[in-house]
């Protein structure tokens, strides 16, 4: 039965996509299918966490071919957490999209594409095979391409050209790296790779392939200096699409890096992980400085994705139990907060008529509730106590101090300060100062119907509440992240679960 359980995160979004496309006639049916599918996915994620807690790592051999010969789906704590968090953001964005996405775009297929994207993401999180990971990356990529150009406005096509170009290059690099890995070891099963990599004669070549994976996943996760596609594209599609991209796509790259550099390439930690640490530091700085130069709501947030990715990679690169735990915790915190900020940017746009900070204002006075909803994720992003971001940063800083990497700790703290600067800029321009055109936000041309208001703010309020809960009631989340880090740093359990699990 385990084989069915671990396949659920992939099956649910795919079945939802098919139903949402084939459900004829009324758009209402499609919408409810979409929301229901996302809710089921969330339930599946929570169920998986529970099952991993009860039974340890879950392994399912597809087609009854035992690993390492067939494709195995493997769910450990990290995978289960990622699936659950995908469900949370999926549900929030699915609800938000009901009021935000154009009816025309819904007709062209927003809902099916959205769920295909979720399916690709969940597939990448659950697979235990390198080539299968490549396939899921592609499923995710092709649906993201289609979502990005949905509506075909000029800016979207412009952004998509850069997004598509760089991501295709990363795809090919990934493929070559997989090919070389296979040439060296004769296997592509991750658990089997863990066993065979140390036996390869030419360890220099292993490190070279590891670097290819850094570049390939580095493009996906927008690491320095490969992040240019992200701020070029993320502010162009509809807000729902921006939000789900910002939450999940780069994090799949981060997940892949964490998986590969804890399970497979651990033979030359002194070189690869130090390199990752340097990249992490520069990524943080570049992202936050890039954000400081921007004046558009979503572009600021896009650059902040880049800087936040640096923190996650920092946790991985420190390669201590605390560091990896911090990385996992940071991913969870970041997905919720960042998706939420994008959703807020959409509400601000609807209430004031633009994403350009110079052209909007007055939100605090007329919409205090929205202002609070912005402040929670914004403070959390900057790392103010007692919100989730504070604990995430605290753990990482502690992990850095523990092994004496003072430079990266200083960078992390500095970047935190600069993040406050950007958030203050948004606060001042969009919320505090009055509207330059003397428009009262939410009235007249920018009025919002009651239904839309509820559908737009409910997901934001829910995710903001989650941020506060993680901040105030941190212990269970820290324990979960610690358990995930323990599994990651002791791959023997993973290997035994996969290669011992012959039916």
């Amino acid at each position: 039965m385990t084989a069915w359980l671990v396949a659920l995160p992939i099956l649910v979004p795919f079945v939802t996509a098919i139903l949402a496309f084939l459900a004829g006639g009324s758009i209402t049916v499609k919408r409810w299918i979409s929301v229901a599918g996302a809710a089921v996915l969330l339930a599946v994620g929570l169920l998986l966490i529970h099952q991993v807690y009860q039974h340890g790592i879950l392994v399912g051999a597809m087609g009854d071919w035992p690993p390492p010969f067939g494709i195995a789906l493997v769910v450990d704590f990290l995978s289960a957490i990622m699936v659950a968090i995908t469900g949370i953001t999926g549900l929030a964005v699915a609800v938000y999209a009901l009021a935000e996405v154009d009816r025309a775009e819904e007709h062209v297929g927003f809902h099916p594409l959205f769920h295909l994207l979720l399916g690709g993401v969940c597939g990448a999180f659950t697979t235990g095979d390198m080539f299968n990971l490549y396939v899921w990356f592609e499923v995710m990529l092709i649906s993201s391409f289609a979502l990005l150009v949905l509506g075909s406005r000029k800016a979207q096509i412009d952004g998509a050209v850069k997004y598509v170009a760089l991501n295709l290059v990363s795809t090919v690099l990934f493929l070559v790296a997989v090919g070389l890995l296979y040439g060296m070891t004769g296997t592509l099963n991750m658990a089997d790779l863990h066993l065979t990599i140390p036996q390869v004669e030419n360890q220099g070549l292993v490190t070279a392939v590891a670097l290819m994976f850094i570049v390939a996943f580095g493009i996906k996760s927008a690491l320095f200096p490969l992040f240019f596609w992200l701020p070029a594209a993320y502010h162009t599609p509809s807000v729902s699409v921006s939000a789900i991209f910002s939450a999940l796509l780069t994090k799949v790259g981060v997940y892949a890096l964490i998986r590969v550099f804890t399970l497979i390439f651990t033979q030359d930690v002194g070189y690869t992980h130090n390199l990752l640490l340097i990249i992490a530091g520069i990524t943080m700085l570049t992202g936050v400085l890039g954000a400081a130069a921007q004046n558009e709501f979503r572009r600021i947030l896009s650059f902040h994705i880049v800087s936040q990715i640096g923190y996650m990679i920092m946790g991985l690169a420190l390669y201590t139990p605390l560091g990896v735990m911090g990385a996992v915790f940071y991913v969870v915190h970041h997905i919720i907060v960042k998706a939420n900020l994008f959703l807020v940017s959409g509400v601000a746009n609807r209430l004031t008529g633009s994403f350009e900070l110079k052209k909007i204002g007055g939100l605090y006075k007329s919409q205090p509730f929205v202002a609070v909803l912005f402040l929670v994720p914004a403070f959390s992003l900057a790392g103010l106590p007692p919100l989730s971001g504070f604990w995430a940063k605290l753990v990482l800083v502690q992990a850095g101090l523990e092994i004496g990497s003072y430079l990266i700790v200083a960078t992390a703290l500095l970047v935190g300060l600069l993040t406050i600067y950007s958030m203050t800029k948004i606060w001042n321009e969009a919320f505090w100062k009055s509207h330059p055109d003397a428009i009262e936000p939410g009235t007249g041309a920018v009025a919002l119907s009651r239904r839309d208001y509820i559908l737009l703010t409910a997901p934001i309020a829910g995710m903001a509440a989650l941020t506060v809960i993680i901040g105030l009631w941190t212990e269970p989340f820290i324990l979960l992240a610690t358990a995930a880090a323990e599994q990651l740093l002791n791959p023997d359990a993973y290997v035994n679960a996969v290669l011992g699990a012959r039916p």
């Binding site: 592609e138 990529l141 092709i142 000029k154 096509i157 412009d158 598509v164 090919v172 060296m184």
Partner: protein, 138 residues
């Protein structure tokens, strides 16, 4: 034989990188197509080459009797070809749309999503003055 193919892969990658460095979007796409073919060839080569021994098990036998070719790289390549076919078809349509909507295939001139700020304009003018006249993309 592996050596020859490795060199061929190297040449293809070199050519594709040259193409991809151009500002012309269409050239970039050609480079990408070449690169993905080079990737397929690299996988093929890393699966080791054998002469005329198809991976088929004769009737009646349960395991192959002689040494056979490695079938897995071929399966991987087939999958990769299918995927890259889809992605490149999309990229081609996108390039066409970009040409229609934006009126150019020069990636330097696609500035709708990221409009040039005054400062950036000044900086690039200064840079151009320093580095001399630059050749235009055809």
């Amino acid at each position: 034989m592996e050596v020859v193919l490795s060199v061929v892969v190297g040449i293809m990658v070199t050519a594709s990188i040259y193409l991809m460095l151009g500002r012309n979007l269409v050239k970039f796409l050609f480079g990408l197509i070449l690169l993905s073919n080079a990737a397929n060839l690299a996988i093929f080569t890393s699966g080791r080459l054998t002469w005329g021994s198809p991976p088929l098990i004769p009737e009646g036998a349960l395991v192959p009797i002689t040494d056979i070719a490695n079938a897995l790289p071929q399966a991987l390549i087939l999958t990769a070809i299918v995927i890259s076919f889809g992605l490149l078809a999309f990229a081609l349509v996108l390039a066409y749309c970009a040409y229609q909507e934006l009126g150019t295939v020069d990636t330097d001139e696609m500035r709708i999503a990221e409009p040039e700020t005054e400062f950036a304009k000044k900086a690039s003018r200064a840079w151009r003055a320093l580095s001399g006249p630059r050749d235009r993309a055809p």
